[in-house]
Amino acid sequence: MTDLLANLGLGFSIALSLQNLALCFLGCLVGTLIGVLPGVGPIATIAMLLPITFGLDPVGALIMLAGIYYGAQYGGSTTAILVNIPGEATSVITTLDGHQMARQGRAGIALGTAAIASFFAGTVATLLIAALGAPLTKLALVFGPAEYFALMVMGLVFAVVLARGSILKAVAMILVGILFASVGTDLETGQERMTFGLAFLADGVDFSVLAMGLFGIAEILRNLDHTETRDVVRQQIGRLLPGRADIKQATPSVLRGTVIGSTLGILPGNGAVLGPFASYAIEKRIAKDPSRFGNGAIEGVAGPESANNAGAQTSFIPLLTLGIPPNAVMALMVGAMTIHGIVPGPGVMTKNPNLFWGMIASMWLGNLMLLIINLPLVGLWVRLLKVPYRLMFPAILMFCSIGIYSINSVPTDVMFIAFFGIVGYALIKLGFEPAPLLLGFVLGRLMEEYLRRALTLSRGDPIVFLERPVAAGLLLLTAVVLAAALLPSLRKSRDEVFTEA
């Protein structure tokens, strides 16, 4: 306990430095902004802003990126409530009751509830990260290459199972991602792999180029082909703070949502996305009068919103302690860490305690800032909602081009974002999710390295993965989860969680 306090103290001393505070604020502001703006998701933004953070010190850079991430979660719920368009995947559920509340003239209360619920959940989740971080890291330190390999396999499989859509397609995407990662100079032998003698492929496919193309450009292309009418609530936003009756109604949902969200967020798959869905399903099931749901029930906002934010925070746990990114945003974080010369994994906490604890402390500060930024500025956000997309996307296009050019100063990088943009668009059109591809890509090189090392140590005997209890346990769990997900009955209930409501 004293350790925890001392560590948190260290964290706050770093997060409260003027520079980091400013970066955290900037991150939250930019995050909210893009969460609110139509057609720009957190993944695209982080990919876009990666180049700008290269000049910062690693702690500041990651604090800012993290701020963008949870800022976008907040902003996403604002659009969900006011425009009935989820700013991003995890706020889909908030549209159901949040927008109904807004139609009934209770937009302010919906926004206020969402903000307060998120803040509460964020606080709990931050404490959870601080408490769990240390023991998990110690556990991870006894891991050898075999265990790491098994862990990564598990992380990837969980990501597949917890995501929506076809499992087969997601597996294929992961494999493609790892395959992409193997392009370039082989780390061990120095031999060039699948580079076709092209100089710009010698270092492999650039992470920022891939991410910006798959998420930034492809997102634009996708938005360009469907009409979406924005139906901004014209009614008064009204009072922001929920009344006593509302609080009484919402509190239990917030508590449940927080528990559900934080638990699912820790899972090494993309649990954070599942959180709001699960929370909504549970709230609806245990409600005395389920018919209120979909017609502006405050629990339908409070529960999923807290689950959403709690999951967003706790999904940092697998990243910070084990170095395994649970979703595409975290994969971008891994990319950012690697670019700053930090190897993600259990070593981060011992080698870079400043980074680890500074980031955790900044998360709580960020949540506080969001509460302060969001509630009074709602009017401004509403006005931003009216920016038409036809002006948004040329701007994004230019930012992406400048950002990617500024990394290496080579025009071919810029051309490649166009290429990967088309690839990403084709994937979306064919029903493939690009996120698992990015996860596979980020983990690919490390996985190969661990696999090689494990097999070298065992003199080529693959039984090593079954002899070592931890590795065997992880792989067994992976197999069970995968098999279970493929079973028809469970598969149905998995689909149900996503289509509920």
Binding site: T189, M194, F196, D225, E228, T229, I402, V414, A418, K429
Partner: protein
Amino acid sequence: MSEPIGGSGRSNGPIRGPQSVVGGLGLVALGVFAIWAGGDLPQGTLGAMGPGLMPRWLAIGVAACGVALVVAGLVKRGDPLPPVAWRGMLVVVTAILAFALTIRPFALGPVTTPGLGLIVAGPLAILIGGYATPEARLRELVILALFLTAGCMLLFGDLLNLPIPIFPTFVIEAISGSISTRVLLRIAAGLLTLGGLLGLALGRGSGRRVDVAPHSMTT
């Protein structure tokens, strides 16, 4: 925009899930291509894995997933191919290429493009890119380009000091020595902003902008 192929997915020849079949064929093609591309790499043994081992097995895995998808598409009824917005794709790609080719001198075989710097490449990307949607309005895009270019020049060139060429190479050569590029940058950014403000003011005077919610996002 093309018509969705395969119609509503009702018995349309042997292909019941066109989306899966096309996706699967794509994966098979990628897998085969990767096997070919990595064919010359030594495989090594499990104890001492060569550089070719992992890519080979991954490629086989990808191709296997592809085969499974094709089979699924032949057996099970699935989604049709969604329509593709060719206009958006072509225009966006053109805009990005225009930026890449003009930002700095780039040798394309025997031809070398002139390096025009951000001050030309940026607006070019916006003006071309804007036409990805039929809703594009030239005046709006010009104003946007002026403001954004000024902002980006100050942000990336002045504040963040990123190594990005701002002005055309011939301008830099012409003025070399007489005025510092940073001063020039600020003057140019100021002029662009003025131009943008002028555009806004003129627009307000002449036509009224139809700019009320609900907006249609695009197309």
